[in-house]
Structure formats: C-alpha cells, structure tokens
Amino acid sequence: MVNFAGIAEPGSTKNYKTGTWRTYRPVVDFDKCIGCAKCWEYCPEGCIIELEVDGKEVYETDLDYCKGCGICSEECPVGAIEMELEEED
C-alpha cells in the first residue's frame, strides 16, 4: 500500500531514474571538449558528471537521469555534444 499523502524520505527523487524518458541521447566528443563546464551550468536536471579522460578534465551526462532535452548540446561553445536518436539495440 502507498504511504500517507505521498510523504517520503528526503532525497528519494534519485530513486526515479528518468533516463528512460529520453528520445535523443547526448554524446560527448572528448577530443573537442575543453572542460569549460557550460553543460554542467545549464543542465536543468543536474546530471552532468565531471571525469578525467587521458589526463584531461571533461564532462559527460549521467544517462540514468538525462531526459535528453539537448540544452547541453545547444550551449556547448565548441560543438562537442551531438544529440543522437535513441535506438533499440
């Protein structure tokens, strides 16, 4: 049975993986990425992760939560993020 009035433990939103809502998936070209963090700033879902690839600081999307809005791709100053149609494997 459901709980009372939808009252939940704090932070439980992270249990809902919203990545399945996505139609387009952001794909980052790490060679082009300059690590400026614009995507991190603009992402409305807060699901951009910082990581290191070949000693270089770059950014990537957490696909468990990314809804595929494409704002990161739109804002990227070097065009390093392509939105690609999700296709069933």
Binding site: A5, G6, A8, T13
Partner: protein, 395 residues
C-alpha cells in the same frame, strides 16, 4: 445543562473569539467582504497580546492558503477565512491542502460570485469547490458557526480523517448580525481539543519530503485514501458533535438535523441560515394543520446520503432549496440528493427551488410558496417544472 454566559456580538467576532480559543499557531489571511471582520478581529487579538499566533498579512488569497499549507505541514494549527472570488483564487491550493492531508480550518463567509459584482450572500462560492477534498459544514446561526469552528479542528485533526475543513457561514446574514452567543473559554476548548501533534511533519531534525510526485502507479491509491478519509469522517463527525454537546452543553446531533419530519407528507431540505426562516415557516404551517417537515443539512461533505434517505422515507414530495445553481443543470444540494435517491428504496417526487442568489431575501412568504408548490407536486403525483427560480421578476 451548563449555565451559559452569553454576550451579544457580531457573527464574525463570535467566530474570531472561538478560533482564538483554539490557539492557532499561524493565521494567514487577505481581506474580502464579508469575511474581513473575522481576521480583523484575530489580528487585533494578536496585536493586543491576547493571542500568541504568527499572523501573516499576505498579498492574496492564493498566498493565504499557500502559507497555511506550508505552516500546517510543519505540524502547526492554522486558520484562514475568505469569501467568493477570494475562495476561487485559492482553488488550486485547496486541492494541495487536501491531497497533502493538512487539517487546515477555514471559515468561508458565503458570498455570490461575480459577474455581475455582488458582495451579498449565496452559496455559489463554496459549492463551486465542493470537489476539492475539503470537509464542508454549513451553519444556521452565529452560535452554531462558532461551535463548528472549534468542532472542525477536532474533526480535521482526527487521525482517521486528517482532511481540511471549511466552515460556511452566510455572508452578512450571519457575519454582520449581532446575536447573543456563548463562547467556550480557552480552558473549556483545551479540554475538548488536544494539541495538534501529527506523525508526519516538516522538521529539520527529521527531514521528510512533502509534495512528492504521484506517478500513475500510485496516484489512484492516494485519491482512494482521501475518499476513505471522507467516509471515516461520517463516523467521526457525530462523535465529535456528541462529545462537544456533553462538554459544552449545547445539543448537536448528526450530519443532518430533522425538524418535525416524523409524519410529514412534504419535506423541505436546505442548509445555512435560511433554515431559521424555514423552521418558522414549518411551525406556522403545522399550526394550520399542514403535514410538513424540514431537514437541515449540517454537513455537505462528506455527503450524508444514508441519513437523508432515512429522514425522507415516508414523505410524498421533497422540495430542496438551493442558494446556488450549477448553470445548465441544477442546484448542488438537489443534484446530490437525486444521486443518493436513485439506488435507494424510496422514490419521492422532488422539486428544486433556486432562491436567494446574490443576497435576495428569502422571506417566510417565499418559503410558504415553496411549500405550496411542493405540496401541489405531492397531490398531482408528478413534477411539471423541476427547477424553479423563486421570486424571479417578470420579464
């Protein structure tokens, strides 16, 4: 019967005194005629140090109800009051208050809804929000409305109910009329109404999320819980009335009140302050030998269908007076009575009177006309003109 200390005061002030003795922690309100005197008096109590409450002067009714939602979620007792367009401006938040199961108590000083602009009494405002998940009580007199305000906290805060409650009093007819009233003292109220201490509340020491999303997999169950709580309220409300009657010495029985209905061929049904006029009318008609009775609907939500069917049984015709109309259909009380009758064992003839819209007076002479019309229906055995506007001017 307990000795009563009676004072003569305006209905709005009577209800403000009662609310004061319930010690609400937070009062958030925006003025609107004819409600203003209620919260004006409460703000005076706070300013004079007679009431220790957080009094929030907000910029709209939407904010008033929003502030009550936030405050109630922290586990505090809250109060607001409004009328007419003010209630409609709260509409969105009303559903949040009930969905979040917050036992906010609000007095609605019933007023017509414009256009045309009209500040006088009818029930269009509160009937328009009857699906918002709030308990709705309708008062006949100033004494009843002040008692209802106190009872409402106990009903709303009951663990098996936990729903917000709307106490409806007729604008001007009650709010601005001076009547002798007996106000329970703070000690008497405290003895009746325990402190509000809910299991779930917003507390930085023990954080919880309120207002979470209800996905399609869960949403219906939450609505079912609210509906179940309304059903529970049908049991809880009479218990609260009984306890109140025992402690305060004023008789309040059930969800409805029957007046001379036992052997009645014709029964009139209504709610609110017009019940006083209808009681006088029934008395006069009884003196003339007419077999007429009256049913007062004290609780409109949850709707007392079983109680109404039991009370109507035996009557040949029923006339329902509504101070509202769902334009293009019928009055709210009438429609809901018909709903209840359909699957019952009784089939009285029914007629709906739309009267008193926008503050038009309903004198005893009009009430008598309604009785005559209903009696005529009973004698003919059929209804010719089901929805009748009373005292409508000729074109």
């Amino acid at each position: 019967m307990k000795r009563e200390n009676r004072e003569v005061m305006e209905g709005s002030h009577a209800v403000a005194h009662a609310v004061k003795n319930c010690s609400p922690d937070v009062i958030a309100a925006y003025p609107i005629t004819p409600q203003t005197h209620i919260v004006e008096k409460l703000s005076q109590f706070v300013a004079d140090g007679e009431l220790k409450s957080e009094y929030l002067k907000v910029e709209s009714e939407f904010s008033a109800m929003s502030a009550c939602v936030g405050a109630s979620a922290t586990g505090t007792r809250t109060f607001t009051a409004t009328s007419s367009q003010g209630l409609i401006l709260m509409d969105e938040v009303l559903y949040n208050a009930s969905g979040l199961r917050l036992p906010i108590v609000m007095v609605v000083a019933n007023r017509a809804v414009g256009a045309p602009i009209n500040i006088w009494n009818d029930h269009s405002d509160s009937m328009g929000v009857r699906d918002s998940g709030w308990i709705q009580l309708y008062a006949e007199s100033n004494q009843e409305v002040l008692d209802m305000a106190i009872q409402s906290y106990k009903i709303a805060e009951n663990d098996d109910v936990r729903l917000p409650a709307m106490v409806c009093m007729d604008g001007f007819i009650l709010t601005h009329t001076y009547e002798p009233v007996s106000i329970p003292t703070k000690e008497e109220v405290s003895d009746f109404l325990p402190e509000f201490d809910p299991e779930h509340k917003l507390d930085p020491e023990d954080p919880k999320s309120f207002g979470t999303v209800g996905f399609p997999g869960d949403f219906m169950e939450f609505k079912y819980q609210q509906h179940e709580a309304m059903q529970n309220a049908k049991e809880v409300i009479p218990e609260v009335f009984k306890e109140y009657s025992e402690k305060m010495g004023r008789e309040y029985n059930g969800l409805i009140e029957e007046y001379k209905t036992e052997d009645a061929d014709v029964i009139l049904i209504s709610l609110g302050s017009v019940i006083g006029t209808l009681k006088d009318t029934v008395d006069d008609l009884r003196n003339e030998g007419e077999k007429v009775g009256l049913i007062k609907v004290r609780v409109f939500r949850p709707f007392p269908e079983k109680q109404l069917i039991d009370a109507i049984e035996g009557a040949r015709a029923v006339g329902v007076l509504d101070k509202n109309i769902s334009l293009g259909n019928k009055g709210a009380l009438y429609s809901e009575l018909l709903d209840s009758l359909y699957n019952s064992d009784i089939t009285p003839l029914t007629i709906n009177f739309i009267a008193g819209l926008g503050g038009r007076d309903i004198p005893e002479s009009s009430a008598k006309k309604m009785y005559e019309k209903t009696k005529d229906v009973a004698e003919r055995g059929y209804v010719e003109d089901e929805i009748k506007f009373v005292d409508l001017k000729e074109a």
